[in-house]
């Protein structure tokens, strides 16, 4: 039972009371990881070090000196955060086998608080994508594809079809982390969020996905996509847990000059009883083309929920949001072109056998190391940065970015506390359908509702809200004001309580075909 509970109240208490030991908890998670291997959520499972960490945690509990709420808690980390001694691949041939000599600040902070690092989760190569389908280790499968809810509503209709074609994507690029939390293999996971990469898979996998304010959490050790937008993301089962993890990670890091100078005070979330003083903004531009009718319905139901509880709900306008995709494309690819320049095969990572000249070695290394998506972005980014194009593209995109950010400033300045929007246009689509479109088209469509928060550096959170007609999770997004995470999470928690999102009824039967065929079919509910 503890395995499925929230962090703050259930698991931590169980550990403290000795109802479960960190080692038992770790072993349960490790065996679950094995039995859900077909989800492809993990790239690396660090069994040995995890068990060692659990043992150390157990010693602390036995002495009655646990380090805090996170002590002994199994967690997973997206494979674009550096972890000392554990492979960090970014799901790319370029970094396959790369073992970093240092821990990302966020990883170090989790370890310092006793968390048990189970492994590294799957993603799109270098976090470029919105499906978790474009990594060198293959796509991540959404655990909800194997839920009773999905099977009952969707699968009977397509019984004749090959079952393989029915599984749905997790969204991305932090799909591995979202799937890991969703399938109970860990209690919390780190993702990264540049254009929605934490919130999008959180919505598709029915978990909480928090993108904190830019600068609140250190990026040191996060392999960058877009430095000016990247934020470490937090994926948990409930809003309270997100607050716990946030509290353990936030604050100034001398190794990241873009973090806030002030120290961050961890907080507990109050149980909101009165929302009447709250002003919720509904940005009309988020009624975007392609928004599914059921999500639209859910969105207005949520707005009514606030209205009925006494909150002020107002329609607001963020007029420049529609330019966000184009603007993001320029800024993102430009930074990608720059950030990827270091992968030349000299100091680390893949190096081609080509040795005719240094230049030919560079070219071959980068051709062999990066997939088409990464190479495409490098190419367009370099184009935008050319002397003759810089003014017309990069500078303009920066100006548009400022306009997008100013839209939010104006809206929040008008008295709105928090914005309520959908997180995704629809529920998760089957993999076979998803790959019909290329990565660029998909990313452009899928990031549309999440990206503006990155442009403006604002905190935003996905809260699982309900199930679609197909039995798949749908989430809504709350966008808060800079560094007002406490307010944002408090409202999210209130909302979470109202909607009572159902727990996944995971059925792991025939899908357990790869490594553990001998095992009895497991049913976790």
């Amino acid at each position: 039972a503890a395995l499925k509970g929230g962090l703050r109240f259930q698991v931590s208490a169980a550990l403290k009371e000795g109802r479960v030991t960190p080692t038992e908890l770790c072993q349960r998670c490790l065996s679950l990881i094995k039995s859900t291997k077909f989800l492809n959520a993990y790239i690396t499972v660090a069994e040995e070090t995890a068990l060692k960490q659990a043992e150390e945690s157990e010693t602390r509990y036995r002495r009655g000196q646990p380090l805090g709420v996170l002590d002994g808690i199994p967690i997973a980390v997206k494979d674009n955060f550096n972890t000392a001694g554990i492979e960090t691949t970014c799901a790319s041939n370029m970094l396959k086998g790369y073992i970093s000599p240092y821990n990302a600040t966020v990883v170090q902070k989790l370890l310092d608080q006793g968390a048990v690092l189970l492994g590294k989760t799957n993603l799109d190569e270098f976090a470029m994508g919105s499906g978790s389908t474009d990594g060198v280790f293959g796509p991540v499968r959404n655990p909800w594809s194997y839920s009773r809810q999905y099977r009952e509503k969707s699968v009977p209709k397509s019984r004749s079809e090959d079952e393989e074609s029915n599984w749905v994507i997790t969204g991305g690029s932090s799909g591995g982390s979202a799937a890991a939390v969703s399938s109970f293999t860990c209690f919390a996971a780190l993702g990264s969020d540049t254009g929605g990469s934490t919130r999008n898979p959180a919505a598709h996998c029915g978990v909480v996905g928090l993108k904190p304010t830019y600068g609140l959490i250190s990026r040191h050790g996060l392999i960058p996509l877009v430095n000016s937008m990247d934020v470490p993301g937090i994926l948990t089962r409930c809003v309270d847990d997100a607050a716990v993890v946030l509290g353990s990670l936030a604050g100034h890091d001398p190794k990241d000059s873009t973090t806030i100078q002030d120290n961050f005070k961890p907080f507990e979330l109050p149980n909101l009883t009165d929302v009447s003083k709250l002003s919720i903004g509904i940005p009309k531009e988020y009624h975007a083309p392609g928004l599914s009718s059921e999500i639209l319905a859910l969105w207005s139901k949520a707005a009514d929920l606030f209205k009925n509880a006494g909150a002020k709900v107002v329609e607001v306008s963020l007029p420049h949001t529609r330019y966000s995709i184009v603007c993001y494309h320029v800024l993102c690819t430009a930074e990608v072109a720059s950030n990827m320049a270091r992968f030349d095969g000299l100091e680390y990572g893949h190096r081609s056998d080509m040795n005719k000249s240094t230049e030919s070695m560079y070219a071959a290394t980068r051709r062999e190391g990066f997939n088409d998506v990464v190479r495409g972005r490098i190419l367009s980014g370099n184009y935008f940065l050319l002397k003759q194009n810089y003014e017309n593209y990069f500078i303009k995109a920066q100006k548009v970015r400022r306009l997008i950010a100013n839209d939010f400033v104006k809206v929040f300045g008008s008295g709105v506390d928090i914005l309520l929007t959908p997180t995704t246009l629809s529920d998760a689509v089957p993999y076979m359908e998803f790959i019909k479109e290329d990565n660029r088209t998909r990313s452009a469509q899928d990031d549309i509702l999440t990206q503006a928060a990155n442009m403006a550096g604002l905190p935003a959170i996905n809260v699982p809200t309900g199930l679609s007609e197909r039995g798949l999770p749908v989430g809504l997004q709350f966008i808060g004001q800079s560094f007002q995470e406490k307010q944002l999470l408090t409202v999210a928690k209130w909302f979470e309580k109202q909607v009572k999102f159902p727990m996944i009824q995971l059925e792991v039967k025939r899908h357990d075909h790869s490594a553990f065929q001998h095992q009895k079919p497991a049913f976790f509910s």
Binding site: R219, L222, N227, T258, Y348, E359, L386
Partner: protein
């Protein structure tokens, strides 16, 4: 414009070969720069005169314990790749953290060069692939550098006579903070390139001098003055041989009244002497090229110190587009002054321009003026004293320990001490004769115990460094001056002993 630059006009200073293609030995003849600022008289050829224009880009390695954006130590000639942090090797996920000391050094240098200090400056990425540039880009200050619009006054002598000096000014366009690259060592026989990243990420100040100079001598004099300033400030050790001061020269020539010509950039200059040579060679090469009907390419050339000429750099062929981009991992660099300094700011975390200004040491020009005033020496003596590391201190120590007038002491320092040291390639600190010994010797001279000729003899003995004092040498060699009476007595004794001869002489 007349106030700066020499405004001098050059002519081809050699005879062309008899129409044949045989190359004229370039750079052999010293190119006379007209430092007075007047026009050079028309040469024999009668061709239109040329105006050379020289601008400089100087990279000064900041003297600091650690690198510009990482905690790695800075040390010359350490074991290869022993001073490399994760950031220096550009490991994925690492971020730059600005070193405060480097910022202070740049502010100090900017103030000393009369620049306006930008209270808000920015960092940019400059992209190019090179083996010793691990990140694929260099962090620099392209858009808004830390200091702009300064000037540097320097002096040089005319016609090689120390007694005739002119002072000139070169405008400083900007000073920017940037990272140094690593070093590539090419092993051609094994077809390998070895990379040493010890230098990668060391802080540099790039000082950009406007094209206000017109010959190698001016360029060298300006750089020498800058070098002295940097060393006085301690912002850079500025030793060219150690690569702590690297000079690239931009050179072009044009006819008076016309637009500036196409310029070339000359790199690989590692001493002041070579700077003067390289610039003069390049000016002559361009004049010759143009007079032969050729064109000047906008290219990078390397100075070959063995051959004394410049040659095109092969790996710099083709135009590079550096694809500049703002560095997203560093917030704008904000500097404060007494007025703008917020009260609640931790003083350890801010750089206060006024605070630095108040603590600037005397710059070389002030030091020279003070020496001239205090000791009554000539202005050019001030230059010589400052030009040699430790010479001023040596001079002042001698003056303190002797009754001889400074005006006289300076002669001994400059003529005897300095020429001896130069002859033996010694620095002042390596001098076998200490200031104490020299003062001792000068005191003997001043008390008229020895003659000036004898003093030179004693000094010659002292150079041997045998540990004898001047007094001991004087005694040993019996070099004492003798007074009149004693001399008369000696003469009397001689005369008394040689009576016959005396009589013979008197009789004629």
């Amino acid at each position: 414009a007349a106030a700066r630059g020499c405004g001098g006009v050059w002519r081809r200073a050699w005879q062309r070969g008899a129409g044949g293609p045989a190359p004229v030995p370039r750079g052999q003849r010293a190119v006379a720069c007209n430092a007075r600022g007047g026009a050079v008289p028309a040469g024999k050829s009668g061709l239109a005169p040329w105006v050379p224009v020289v601008g400089l880009e100087i990279h000064a390695q900041i003297s600091s314990n650690s690198k510009l954006f990482s905690g790695s130590q800075v040390q010359f000639a350490a074991a290869p790749n022993s001073l490399v942090s994760f950031f220096d090797a550009s490991l994925p996920g690492t971020l730059p953290v600005l070193n405060r000391r480097c910022v202070e050094a740049a502010v100090m240098t900017g103030l000393a060069l009369n620049c306006s200090i930008n209270k808000r400056s920015l960092f940019d990425r400059k992209h190019y692939f090179y083996a010793d540039l691990p990140a694929g880009y260099q962090i620099t200050q392209q858009r808004v550098p830390i200091a702009v619009n300064g000037s540097l006054s320097y002096s040089l002598c005319i016609d090689n006579k120390m007694s005739q000096m002119v002072t000139k000014t070169v405008r400083i366009k900007q000073i920017q903070l940037e990272q140094d690259s690593g070093k590539s060592l090419h092993d051609d026989t094994r077809n390998q390139t070895l990379v040493d990243l010890n230098r990668a990420g060391v802080g540099l100040m790039e000082v950009v001098m406007e094209p206000d100079m017109c010959c190698g001598e001016e360029a060298a004099a300006a750089v020498r003055e800058l070098q002295l300033i940097l060393q006085t400030l301690g912002s850079s050790q500025a030793v060219m041989a150690a690569g702590q001061l690297r000079v690239d020269a931009n050179v072009s020539v044009h006819h008076p009244g016309e637009h500036y010509g196409v310029r070339t950039e000359v790199k690989n200059i590692n001493s002041l002497r070579f700077l003067a040579k390289a610039v003069d060679y390049e000016i002559q090469r361009q004049i010759e090229e143009l007079e032969n009907g050729g064109t000047i390419l906008n290219e990078t050339r390397a100075f070959d110190s063995k051959l004394g000429c410049t040659v095109p750099m092969r790996d710099k062929e083709g135009k590079q587009d550096y694809r500049f981009m703002p560095e997203p991992n560093l917030p704008p660099l904000i500097l404060y002054d007494a007025k703008s300094l917020p009260a609640n700011m931790n003083h350890q975390q801010v750089v206060n321009i006024d605070w630095i200004h108040e603590r600037l040491p005397d710059l070389p020009s002030v030091k020279r003026a003070k020496l001239v005033e205090r000791y009554g020496i000539l202005p050019e003596h001030g230059f010589t004293l400052l030009n040699e590391d430790g010479l001023t201190e040596f001079f002042e120590n001698v003056v303190k320990q002797t009754q001889m007038k400074p005006k006289k002491v300076i002669g001994w320092i400059l003529n005897d001490l300095l020429s001896y040291l130069k002859q033996h390639s010694l620095t002042v600190k390596e001098s076998p004769v200490s200031s104490f010994l020299l003062a001792d010797l000068l005191n003997l001279l001043e008390k008229k115990e020895i003659s000036s000729t004898a003093a030179k003899q004693v000094l010659a003995e002292l150079w041997k460094g045998e540990g004898k004092t001047p007094f001991e040498i004087v005694k040993e060699k019996k070099l004492e001056l003798i007074d009149q009476k004693e001399l008369e007595q000696i003469c009397q004794v001689v005369i008394d002993g040689q009576e016959n001869e005396v009589i013979m002489m008197v009789l004629g």
